[in-house]
């Protein structure tokens, strides 16, 4: 495409740890190819240069936790042709979505000496709860390979190859012996979307669910198995389900039910 303008990429951050953005910098081997094909217009983690919008692609990290965030994410949306939410914070509210089912005032008093100076929403929510999202990359953090895959798919105008099936599919294709069946280790893999690269089960650890619920995740059946066959307490089941994707509806509801709490109206609303 001689003479064509390079697509402009922007990276925006909301409530998050920066780990997902760093994944982009971590693409050492491919970074040169990326900058060859794309103009990085806004990426504070990497460069002080700021090119104003509009952008062709915006990668959005982090969750929405303040009124100011809501304003800003709307501006980002308005300036972006394509908006890709990256990571558990942006796609499910992150670990900080635990606040959605807790008493936020009590939390603020416990953490800040002068909580009156502290302004926040009572919830931590995903980007798609506020604006239209064109694509989601899951993970805490996202996978480097998947990030490269969406960028190359965008550049060649094809559908990204990002599966929404279970982590178990990845285990079996990698030849990993199932840690739940063979060792009795609780594992969220059967209800978690694949894509991490089989990180935990291949190290004999159960999946922690950081890629969030797979499509049609049957978290309830797996919770029954944890408690009925693996001997987990309701509290342990809750704690498993409520980590990086604490606010994801499929995990939140079953996690709360495991400790005898019902998902009340407000939570159901927040977690959709």
């Amino acid at each position: 495409m001689a003479g064509a303008r390079k697509p402009r990429l922007a990276v925006h951050k909301f409530a998050s740890c920066d780990g997902c953005q760093l994944t982009l910098l971590d693409c050492e081997d491919q970074l040169l190819d990326v900058v060859g094909e794309i103009e990085i217009a806004y990426f504070l983690e990497a460069t002080r240069q700021e090119i104003r919008g509009p952008y062709d692609v915006s990668l959005v990290e982090g969750s929405i936790t303040t009124a100011h965030d809501i304003e800003r994410v709307r501006r980002v949306r308005a300036q972006s042709k394509m908006l890709i939410a990256i990571g558990s914070c942006a796609t499910a509210g992150g670990v900080q979505a635990l606040r959605n089912t807790a008493d936020i005032d009590a939390l603020a008093r416990a953490v800040y000496p002068n909580p009156e100076y502290f302004q926040t929403l009572t919830t931590s929510t995903a980007i798609q709860d506020h604006v239209k999202v064109d694509f989601e990359l899951r993970g805490c953090p996202i996978s480097r390979e998947q990030l490269i895959e969406v960028v190359s798919a965008y550049l060649t105008r094809r559908k990204p190859n990002i599966p929404n099936y279970s982590q178990c599919m990845e285990c079996k294709q990698a030849g990993t012996v199932c840690v739940m069946v063979a060792h009795g280790t609780p594992c969220l893999g059967p209800v978690t979307q694949a894509g991490c690269g089989n990180v935990c089960p291949s190290c004999e650890r159960g999946c922690y669910g950081c890629f969030g619920p797979k499509e049609k995740a049957n978290a309830k059946s797996l919770a029954r198995w944890f408690e009925g066959s693996l001997g987990l307490s309701g509290r342990q089941t809750h704690d498993l389900y409520r980590t990086f994707n604490a606010g994801a509806p499929a995990f939140c509801e079953v996690g709360l039910a495991a400790i005898g709490e019902k998902t009340d109206e407000t939570v159901a609303e927040v977690t959709r």
Binding site: D33, P163, M169, Q173, V181, H183, P190, S221
Partner: protein
């Protein structure tokens, strides 16, 4: 014992258990890579043997729905475990197989690298079970139906030999006897072993199935079998059949066809995770997905075929959406394909009764139990 008995195809020989390493070496001397059972990460899996590797000794497995444990015993028996999570299929159609790569040249030109032209390695698979052999016979129909064939599969298949073993100690999840596939290897083997052990002896009866098998036996010290050896081997199989706890209900093909709306499908869907493990461990499930992967610069594209499953949403995607949205319809697709529509498609059952899908289902869903529940509530009785 000698190596000069002239044992032929159809004969049986007897070799001492101490000669097993020599048998493995004989396979290497005949030019095969040896793939055999290996204890790894708490399970028995097939893997390629290095020069010093041999069969693991003194292992038993304990299997139930959703549960597998490998136990090391002090005993000397060699084959007291049965099938593990990996079947033979990955050696014949790997989980991820690049089909071709295209590269952009200058001025609108491009080149296509054909699939890997290397000939398939000669491989000997040791310690495979009767159900594994039955699965390969099923797969042979899948990958070559007379009109269409998968050349990569056929190449690998042509260069493979199988040293099977008759199961003395089936797992609680096995139901091969009711599927007529085991526990005795009846065809498809090059050599078939039966472990014969008592206080005084520890030997293997070796049935010779092919010329390739006979050549291997000729390299190992052995004697020809006598009637009492065959008698002992028959007793092993009889005992294994008697020990088998599970079975498939008879007439399952027609039963499923007339129970498409049975309420049990909904019950099982409440438990099913649509995780796909059952299809991944099944030795005959063949579904795959084909995807193109492009480089960032757009100059290189690789087309890759990888394992897929009818439990994924995308498996039933046609333009506009996926047909099998519910877990119910996905479980029903799996079970009816394995036990019923496979007959229409390939003229055999797609299930061999190996029990892998029962053991490796994370929530212990049992295909024999589901079949029984449907039989018990049969919506329309079979026509007289």
């Amino acid at each position: 014992m000698s190596a000069e008995t002239g044992a032929l195809v159809g004969d049986s020989a007897v070799l001492e258990a101490t000669a097993l390493p020599a048998l493995i070496q004989a396979l290497r001397d005949e030019g095969y890579e040896v793939i055999g059972p290996t204890a790894r990460d708490g399970a028995i899996v097939f893997s390629e043997y290095g020069p010093a590797d041999s069969l693991p000794v003194g292992y038993e497995d304990s299997q139930e729905g959703g549960r597998y444990r490998l136990i090391k015993t002090a005993g000397r028996r060699v084959f007291d475990y049965v099938v593990g999570p990996k079947s033979l299929k990955e050696w014949f159609w790997p989980p991820r197989q690049p089909l071709w790569t295209a590269r952009r040249g200058g001025r609108g030109s491009y080149t296509i690298d054909p699939p890997d032209p290397k000939v398939a390695p000669r491989r000997a698979f040791v310690g495979v079970r009767a159900c594994d052999l039955a699965a390969m016979a099923v797969n042979d129909r899948t990958f070559d139906n007379g009109d269409f064939a998968d050349p990569a599969y056929l190449k690998r298949r042509d260069n493979a030999i199988f040293i099977s073993v008759d199961c003395a100690r089936p797992a609680a999840t096995c139901f091969c006897a009711s599927m007529n596939t085991g526990p005795r290897s009846s065809s498809g083997f090059d050599l078939a072993l039966t472990e014969l052990e008592d206080a005084d002896t520890h030997v293997f009866l070796v049935r010779i199935g092919t010329e390739a098998g006979a050549k291997v036996v000729a390299r190992v010290p052995h004697r020809l079998s006598v009637e009492s050896d065959l008698e002992r081997a028959r007793a092993v199989v009889t005992q294994a059949v008697a020990r088998m706890e599970r079975s498939m209900v008879p007439g399952i093909d027609a039963l499923l066809k007339r129970n498409f709306t049975h309420p049990r499908w909904t019950t099982v869907a409440e438990r099913c995770l649509s995780c796909g493990n059952c299809t991944m461990v099944c030795p005959t499930c063949f579904c795959s997905d084909v995807k193109d992967h492009t480089s960032l610069t757009g100059d290189v594209t690789t087309r890759v075929r990888s394992w897929d499953s009818c439990f994924t949403l995308d498996h039933s995607y046609v333009h506009g959406g996926a047909l099998r949205q519910s877990r119910m319809s996905r479980y029903r697709q799996w079970m009816t394909h394995k036990l019923s529509s496979w007959w229409d498609q390939f003229g055999v059952s797609g299930c061999t009764g190996c029990g892998r899908c029962i053991t490796w289902c994370p929530v212990g869903i049992d295909i024999t139990e589901e079949a029984r529940a449907i039989a018990e509530g049969d919506l329309t009785q079979a026509a007289e």
